[in-house]
């Protein structure tokens, strides 16, 4: 489900890849080896080769640790194997120095959702090399996730002014989307796709993001085309696989959607995907199967809690919808404290609403929507907060907006919204 969330996570990864591109050379979109056609028939994954090449180089003593770390991070995103993040961190060492290493460390911190740490590292990277562009992408991401949208926009303007590239377009797309401009967001992402060019894994990322935007705009055919391009570039690309499941749900093929979610969760049980599967099973009336999917989320929550990093807005929303509302409020506050973004505001608002405080919940929902964000889930949360707070007219308006802006990707929530509007 979490289309919004997907985009945000993917963007963090785009940060890493833009850094990757930037550290490799200064030509426009100097990303990935020039392998000719973007979607040629070569099935080998270029990132794995890149990793091997750089491992050998570093073993020989060449100072290319930052590049290797970037390649590891890219590999982690492609495969979902977090041990590559650990390797990237090990390659950089505990005290990265120099702009490339600092930039890479910042991107890793952002991937770990430590946005304050990412901001600090990115600033240090920029101070170390004021003329380099590499630190800008992660700087923008950190500012966005910390809710400092004006600063993010100013930084992004400077970044684009110096060097328009894939990473820049992807971020323009995201900021436009946060402001409710879905058409503009899709247009910017289309330029990112073009800039990704021949690099498979960038092509997959950008196409998956573009497809998500098209799906939100109700253009299912265009969305499907983008997802298939992404999957052709990187077979089994997790984000694109998830997007295919959402596409099936949005077009009313719930059994196909569930089959896709099941396959994806069996191979990569990310909380986001497990929650989506569980909610799809609930919508189909299979509460036992839903509970099994949710058990995966709870187990991961337990692990994150032990590590002291259960600060994700996503978990707060999950607890609010399917667990303890009280715990959801705690998690929501923690999410807001660690990353005061519109997503965290949405999560905290929903948690408060579910905990029986819809008036406060609605105030946080307004905060989440203050930029004009048209995320169907945030609109759904805000709508139910308004209804529970007695604001019938506003609630109905918000729920209708949620349905218009793509709530159909989640049949459970769409059914709830339609029921409330009846």
């Amino acid at each position: 489900m979490r289309a919004r969330r997907l985009t945000a996570v993917a963007l963090a990864f785009v940060a890493a890849l833009a850094v990757f591109a930037a550290t490799r050379g200064d030509g426009p979109a100097a990303a990935g080896p020039p392998t000719g056609l973007a979607l040629d028939a070569r099935p080998a994954d270029s990132t794995a080769e890149e990793v091997r090449r750089l491992q050998a180089a570093v073993r020989r003593g060449e100072p290319r640790e930052a590049e290797l770390a970037a390649a590891y991070a890219q590999r982690a995103r492609e495969t979902g194997d977090p041990s590559f993040y650990a390797r990237a961190e090990a390659v950089l060492g505990p005290n990265p120095a120099g702009a490339p290493a600092l930039t890479e460390a910042a991107a890793l911190a952002a991937a770990r959702h430590d946005f304050r740490g990412a901001l600090g590292l990115a600033r240090r990277a920029r101070a170390a090399a004021p003329d380099a562009n590499a630190a800008f992408p992660v700087l923008v991401d950190a500012l966005v996730e910390l809710g400092r949208y004006d600063a993010a926009e100013r930084t992004l303007q400077r970044m684009i002014g110096r060097h328009p590239d894939l990473g820049g377009y992807a971020r323009i797309s995201y900021l436009r989307e946060l402001h409710g401009d879905l058409g503009g967001a899709a247009a910017a992402m289309a330029r990112a796709v073009a800039a990704a060019g021949s690099a498979r894994s960038f092509a997959a990322d950008t196409n998956a993001l573009l497809g998500e935007l098209e799906l939100r705009r109700g253009r299912e055919t265009a969305a499907g085309r983008a997802f298939r391009l992404a999957l052709a570039a990187v077979p089994g690309h997790p984000a694109a696989s998830a997007a295919m499941a959402r596409l099936a749900a949005a077009t009313g093929r719930q059994d196909v959607a569930i089959a896709r979610w099941r396959r994806l969760v069996a191979r990569m049980p990310l909380p986001e995907y497990a929650i989506a599967l569980g909610e799809a099973e609930l919508a189909a009336g299979r509460s036992g199967a839903a509970e099994r999917a949710f058990a995966l989320v709870r187990a991961q929550e337990a692990i994150l809690r032990d590590a002291g990093v259960d600060v994700d807005a996503e978990l707060a929303v999950f607890e609010a919808s399917h667990g303890s509302a009280r715990r959801a409020v705690t998690l929501g506050r923690r999410a807001w404290a660690s990353a005061p973004s519109v997503r965290s505001a949405d999560a905290l608002g929903w948690a408060l609403t579910r905990a029986g405080r819809p008036e406060t919940g609605l105030r946080w929902a307004h905060r989440a929507l203050r930029l004009g964000w048209r995320d169907p889930l945030a609109l759904h949360h805000a709508g139910f907060a308004a209804l529970a707070a007695g604001e019938r007219a506003e609630g109905e308006r918000l729920l209708r907006a949620a349905l218009r802006d793509g709530l159909a990707i989640n049949p459970l929530l769409a059914a709830e919204a339609r029921e409330a509007l009846r």
């Binding site: 491992q55 979902g80 390659v91 187990a299 337990a302 032990d306």
Partner: protein
């Protein structure tokens, strides 16, 4: 709080490489096939290690069901060819354990031994298509056979120690070996393997690679001295009792509060050993029985609550009894007040002006039970680790030794308190203080009980 302690203990047992969990979680499904070609057979040992999250879908399945699933996957997707003909790998042994991983979540470890009949093959190929698409460590390792000289295109060494610790080398990627070709000639059990990358083995992702678990296997294999292991467990228990939260304060306060004798201190130690052992056994049994639905760590708060309430009850009883005695005492000896220092020197414990509260066997039992019942996560970890290694009997023996060590410390402490109490009795200490000590102790017991209970409540709620 208790949960944090459990984690701290587990973390202390485990290798340092088990850093903070990554948001992407533990999804890996790791497997290793070790193949040895002899002149008349091919032996394959297939080991599967599913990490915490990958083990969640197996909750509620019995060991037999999980093993059946592994056997099906292996039967379908682990393909052995001898001289280009597929040969059947028959399962000759299967074992399943669920070693505890991070956050008290179980992991899954299956070990299958497989055998195929062949006659003097010249080329053997093993293709491992199991768990395709799942991330993790995927390796094939060659081993020498009997009556053959083998040249393998895969390494002969397994840097993971049977999927117990994973190399964290920053300059190599996780193994992804899915096929092995072995050229075979008659010989006398030699093996020439592709030089492995010899990645230095860092101590791993935490599970199973810890010295303690290794000690289990060693002791069970007769490699280590069993006695030494038990002595270690005893020593660990004794040291462990010194860490906070093992009822030292309670035991001491109880003995002071009730004017206990050395005999009482020793009896208390014995009771603690028994109750602690029983508690860990029971918790371990419940944890294993319920591992499919309940996490052991979820049971700990309840035990802690029970223990806290028990202590509270004992403390209240001691206090009540003391107050009753004291009011009687006050009436009989009122004239002493104000002359305390004159009488200090003629005090001796046998001749106290403060009538000793009787220690009832029931009270002693309750106190010992309370001290022993407080779930000790380290002991549980020992037991579960032993079970995970399939060395249950050894685990039980170690728990007994551990508990005995724990009790030895408590008994020693109790003796010290009792003897110190007598010594104080001989000192010219104002009798008011001496008289108030038991009451203070009772209050301390109640306080400890309250603290334990209050600490447990938020976790239970």
């Amino acid at each position: 709080m208790r949960r944090a302690l459990l984690i701290a203990v587990v973390a202390a047992l485990l290798a340092p490489a088990a850093a903070a969990a990554h948001p992407l979680g533990d999804y890996s499904v790791n497997h290793l096939a070790e193949i040895g070609v002899s002149s008349d057979r091919v032996d394959v040992r297939y080991t599967l290690d599913r990490a915490e999250i990958a083990s969640v879908p197996l909750r509620g399945q019995s060991d037999a069901e999980v093993l059946a699933g592994v056997e099906d996957e292996v039967a379908d997707r682990l393909v052995l060819e001898a001289d280009d003909r597929r040969v059947l790998l028959a399962v000759t042994g299967a074992r399943l354990t669920r070693p505890p991983g991070r956050a008290g979540l179980p992991t899954t470890r299956a070990e299958l031994t497989l055998r195929a009949r062949v006659t003097d093959p010249s080329r053997v190929v093993l293709r491992d298509g199991t768990y395709r698409g799942r991330i993790g460590w995927k390796a094939i390792v060659a081993q020498p056979g009997e009556g053959t000289a083998v040249v393998a295109d895969v390494p002969a060494t397994d840097p993971t120690g049977g999927l117990r610790r994973y190399p964290a080398d920053r300059l190599s990627s996780p193994a992804d070996v899915r096929a092995a070709t072995l050229r075979v000639e008659p010989g006398d059990g030699t093996l020439e393997a592709r030089g492995s990358d010899a990645a230095p083995v860092a101590s791993g992702d935490g599970r199973g690679g810890d010295p303690l678990t290794d000690a289990f296997s060693d002791a069970a294999a007769g490699k280590g001295a069993l006695l030494l292991l038990l002595a270690l467990a005893f020593g660990w228990g004794a040291l462990h009792a010194l860490s906070p939260g093992h009822g030292k304060a309670m035991v001491a306060a109880y003995l002071v509060g009730t004017r206990g004798t050395p005999r009482h201190a020793i009896a208390l130690g014995g009771i603690v050993t028994v109750t602690h052992t029983a508690g860990v056994f029971a918790l371990g049994a419940v944890a294993l029985a319920l591992s499919a639905t309940v996490l052991p760590e979820d049971l700990l708060p309840w035990l802690e609550l029970t223990s806290g309430l028990l202590v509270l009850g004992v403390g209240a009883a001691v206090l009540r009894r003391h107050l009753r005695h004291r009011s009687a005492h006050r009436h009989g000896h009122h004239h002493h007040h104000g002359h305390d220092h004159d009488h200090g020197h003629d005090h001796d414990p046998g001749h106290s002006h403060v009538p000793p509260e009787r220690i009832t066997s029931r009270g002693l039992l309750a106190m010992g039970a309370a001290a022993g019942l407080i779930p000790c996560p380290s002991a549980l970890v020992v037991l579960l680790a032993a079970v995970a290694q399939g060395e249950i009997a050894l685990g039980l023996a170690m728990i007994v030794a551990f508990s005995a060590g724990l009790a030895a410390t408590l008994t020693g402490l109790g003796l010290a308190v009792v003897l110190a109490g007598r010594a104080i009795g001989r000192l010219p200490v104002p009798r008011g203080v001496v008289a108030a000590l038991p009451a203070l102790s009772a209050v301390a017991i109640v306080g400890v009980g309250c603290m334990l209970t209050l600490r447990a409540v938020p976790h239970v709620a």
